[in-house]
Symmetry: C2
Subunit: 164 residues, 2 copies
Amino acid sequence: MTSEAVPGGERLRAGGVRLTRQRAAVLAVIEGSQGHLGVREVLAAVRKGRRRIGLTTVYRTLEVLASLNLIRKVHLRDGCQRYARAGAGHGHHLICSRCGRVVEFSDCRLGALIQSVADRTQFTIEDHWLELFGRCKGCRNGRGRMRRRSGFRETGTRPGPAAP
Amino acid sequence: MTSEAVPGGERLRAGGVRLTRQRAAVLAVIEGSQGHLGVREVLAAVRKGRRRIGLTTVYRTLEVLASLNLIRKVHLRDGCQRYARAGAGHGHHLICSRCGRVVEFSDCRLGALIQSVADRTQFTIEDHWLELFGRCKGCRNGRGRMRRRSGFRETGTRPGPAAP
DNA sequence: TCGCACATGAAAAACTTTTTCATCTAGGAG
DNA sequence: CTCCTAGATGAAAAAGTTTTTCATGTGCGA
């Protein structure tokens, strides 16, 4: 297995960690999903792809990949151990509350707001975190809310209609 | 114990739930803290105040109080089962990454940004969520980062230097 | 004051996350 | 190309968190 053949291989190496088949598999699963996945879902998806992997490794790998910014940790109203593929920006998310689709955006013009809050509160503001929730085009007229923890698309990359 | 004597009593009743000594105690602990507290910390603080309460009740009560907007759920980088007192706004938080102090603000002028992201992604955006992280005045020159899960001030309301 | 629907809490169950440690392997050295 | 080893893996166990259960308690309207 050459690193060239594995998407993300270079990026893993660049991060100073080894390219293992497990890491490649987890990265592929996340990148192949348009939604956000939890630990058990990643485990199931990797195993469905006929690759052996242990639960412990999934925990560790998700943490490693997130720290390298190869994937993003997504926070929902309840529970925040979910992950989505990383886009170009610094990781703000727009999440469909019905199907779970995650779209990343980075143009958060918060400069003025941050300045104003900083002035008023005497804080030095170092970081911010913004998430938007709504309905994607396909789920616009959906009746209810899909079960939160259900996977959206485990794998398979079909270009979605929405992208920044 | 009349409801008048208990801060939050009216608000609990208005929410359609009973005013119990446990709910009052949990609310008092959260309101008396300037930081964010986890479930175990709330449990410990209530018990330190010599009031009997069970862990199950703490879980249930925090959920009830948060659903009535009497307290807020705070999400941190890791873990998001922490709670802080509720201010007037719709609940955005500025959090000191050293001491844990939480300041709520509500003037988030995100209209233009939300419009722009909505246009580009074809999403209908229904809700947003913004959190700022930094250092409060007192922690400006702090060396490191205080242990994340440590309580900040369990109780006692001394007017802090920072308030919107 | 009474009564009961709602609330509590101890214990157990269910679930999640971390730790441990023996084994494996990616990938650089030779 | 083969060898070697630090880093990676994973099964099992431990630790921690959250939910469920159900008998008992109590807020509050009648």
